[in-house]
């Protein structure tokens, strides 16, 4: 299966990865090679075979709805790139420009 530059750009946008021109070039080539190698999977007969999501097949694991300890806000904010008044600070989330 082939992968072209437009696809690489589309996937990079989905993954929120800014790629350099050099990376776009290199990844297009390398991803195409890798996917070509993976094409062999198509020939495997998986009719009526269930996908494995988890090897130990657990049921839903839940705990009682009782509040427990959580991380201290100070410890968490200490790691934040930007914070103000106990909040994390980021560029405007709602904007007039649509996301590309």
């Amino acid at each position: 299966m082939s992968i072209d530059r437009a696809t690489v750009d589309y996937v990079a946008r989905l993954a929120r990865l800014a790629l350099t021109e050099d990376e776009r070039e290199r990844f297009t080539r390398q991803l195409a090679d890798i996917l070509h190698h993976f094409a062999m999977l198509q020939s495997v007969n998986t009719e009526r075979v269930e996908p494995t999501a988890d090897v130990n097949a657990p049921a839903n694991v839940v705990r009682d709805d009782v509040p427990g300890r959580c991380l201290s806000r100070d410890a968490v904010l200490a790691a934040a790139p930007e914070s103000e008044d106990g909040y994390l600070k980021v560029p405007a989330v709602i904007d007039t420009e649509p996301v590309p």
Binding site: I3, H37, T46, E50, A53, L71, V93
Partner: protein, 463 residues
């Protein structure tokens, strides 16, 4: 012991670069406290009291920076301990520091670390393997008797093989993953790298057990310590998967593993042939599932709450530039692959298809274990390669894990044990057990170990 460890690290680690962070002062303080307790007598000491242990730098330890080998987390200090770290502390271990790894555990040589590679103590022009290369090198060079690693596609076993030490990947669910920086959540497991099988068994007892904070961890009694091997491998059937010993396997490695099989037979095991036909598909299955899960797990590195933030633009630019500049090439490549495999129109054909073939691989193992109690394979197809040898071709690098990957897909326990040398370079053999059968697995590994002398060999240069 701790002082000795720190001294050796100070002297030799500038060459080997096994460590990203050494917690010298804290380690010495902790060691002194254990010395005091020992001198005072009284209560029994916990099992690892005073033992220096190193941690792969994708394990969160309060008070130590955790980078996952990436610029995107450079300088980040976790506000909590991983469960395995808490268990080590409770058992008395002295945490010496954080070891080098391929960025986000993605790699087979530790060359993908954003902070430079680690060198193999047996030959510093060669790789120690990966992604737990720092931990493997630290144990091989005698800096610490034990280190923790993580294994998603072979990242404990392969570096253990390349460095001539023991590396154990427990059954999926045996050890809590809480506090392990996630790569692929259905494949990751934490495990020990040690000089002997008995040490690995001891560490496993400390680490294993149900943790309410990891819903995939399982409630089971800890495996027995490996004793003087009552029973050894008498009556055990050891399966040899014929097609594993195929192309790409170096003749020296093949010979060493065949010799290991003969040793086990000499100790009373029966060798049987088993078929694992779907092994041929393991590589693409793994790289589709692992990268898909990784693309999700690494979405959290976005410049918002922790780590690197590249500012100056709008929200989208913050995400894209932070991730574009913070992640290395291999990580970006895998995120791209995983994102593609999960995207609309491709999810069924890539990700789900891989998950179905994964079921076939699991069934193959189940069938093999009706004929055998343990399976024996080489750990890697080759001896350690030189730095830079495989960095140009990602696919070539992926092939280094061809014997270890299937085990993670099936969630089984496996151990790599030294089984020889070629040109002075270590060769590892891999034993694979049934799910949760670490007892039998380690018993067989120890029997082999004690019947040979590989475990006594040390690389000369690092005392």
């Amino acid at each position: 012991m701790v002082g000795h460890a720190l001294e050796r690290i100070a002297r030799h680690d500038p060459t080997l670069h096994a460590f990203l962070h050494v917690a010298g002062e804290e380690a010495l303080d902790a060691a002194r406290r254990w010395d005091d307790r020992y001198a005072r007598g009284g209560d029994a000491l916990p099992p690892l009291a005073g033992l220096p242990v190193a941690l792969k730098d994708n394990l969160c330890a309060q008070g130590m920076p955790t980078t996952a080998g990436s610029r995107i987390l450079a300088g980040w200090m976790p506000p909590y301990d991983a469960t395995v770290v808490a268990r080590l502390r409770e058992a008395g271990a002295v945490l010496i520091g954080k070891t080098n790894l391929d960025e986000f555990a993605m790699g087979s040589s530790t060359e993908n670390s954003a902070f430079g590679p680690t060198r193999n103590p047996w030959d510093p022009s060669r790789v120690p393997g990966g992604s737990s290369g720092g931990s493997a090198a630290a144990v091989a060079a005698g800096f610490v008797p034990a280190a923790l690693g993580s294994d998603t596609g072979g990242s404990i076993r392969q570096p253990a093989g390349f460095c001539g030490v023991v590396g154990l990947k427990p059954t999926y669910g045996r050890v809590s993953r809480y506090g392990l920086i996630a790569f692929a959540s259905s494949l990751d497991q934490i495990g020990p790298l040690t000089r002997t099988v008995a040490d690995a068994a001891l560490l496993l007892r400390v680490l294993a057990g149900r943790d309410p904070r990891d819903a995939t961890s399982v409630e089971l009694p800890a495996p027995e310590l490996v004793g003087e091997g009552a029973g050894g491998v008498r009556g055990m059937k050891i399966g040899l998967p014929g097609e594993a010993l195929g192309e790409g396997l170096q003749p020296d490695v093949r010979a060493a593993v065949e010799e290991a099989a003969a040793v086990l037979r000499g100790q009373g095991a029966t060798l049987v042939n088993v078929a694992l036909p779907s092994l041929a598909y393991a590589l693409p299955v793994y790289y589709l599932i692992a990268t898909s899960e990784a693309s999700t797990n690494l979405a959290r590195y976005d410049g918002v709450r922790y780590g690197l933030r590249v500012g100056g633009g709008d929200l989208y630019q913050m995400y894209a530039q932070t991730r574009g500049q913070g992640f290395g090439a291999e990580v970006k490549r895998r995120i791209m692959l995983g994102t593609y495999a999960l995207s609309a129109g491709f999810y069924e054909g890539f990700f789900l298809k891989a998950q179905r073939v994964r079921t076939l691989i699991r069934r193959d193992f189940e069938a093999a274990f009706t004929a055998a109690d343990l399976l024996l394979l080489p750990t890697s197809p080759t001896v350690p390669f030189t730095l830079g040898e495989k960095t140009d071709d990602p696919l070539q690098m992926y092939l280094a894990d061809v014997y270890t990957i299937p085990v993670n897909l099936a969630g089984l326990p496996a151990v790599s044990v030294p089984c020889g040398f070629a040109g002075g370079l270590p060769i590892g053999m891999q034993l694979i057990g049934r799910a949760f059968a670490e007892g039998a697995l380690l018993q067989a590994a120890r029997t082999y170990e004690r019947a040979t002398e590989w475990w006594t060999r040390r690389p000369a240069a690092w005392s």
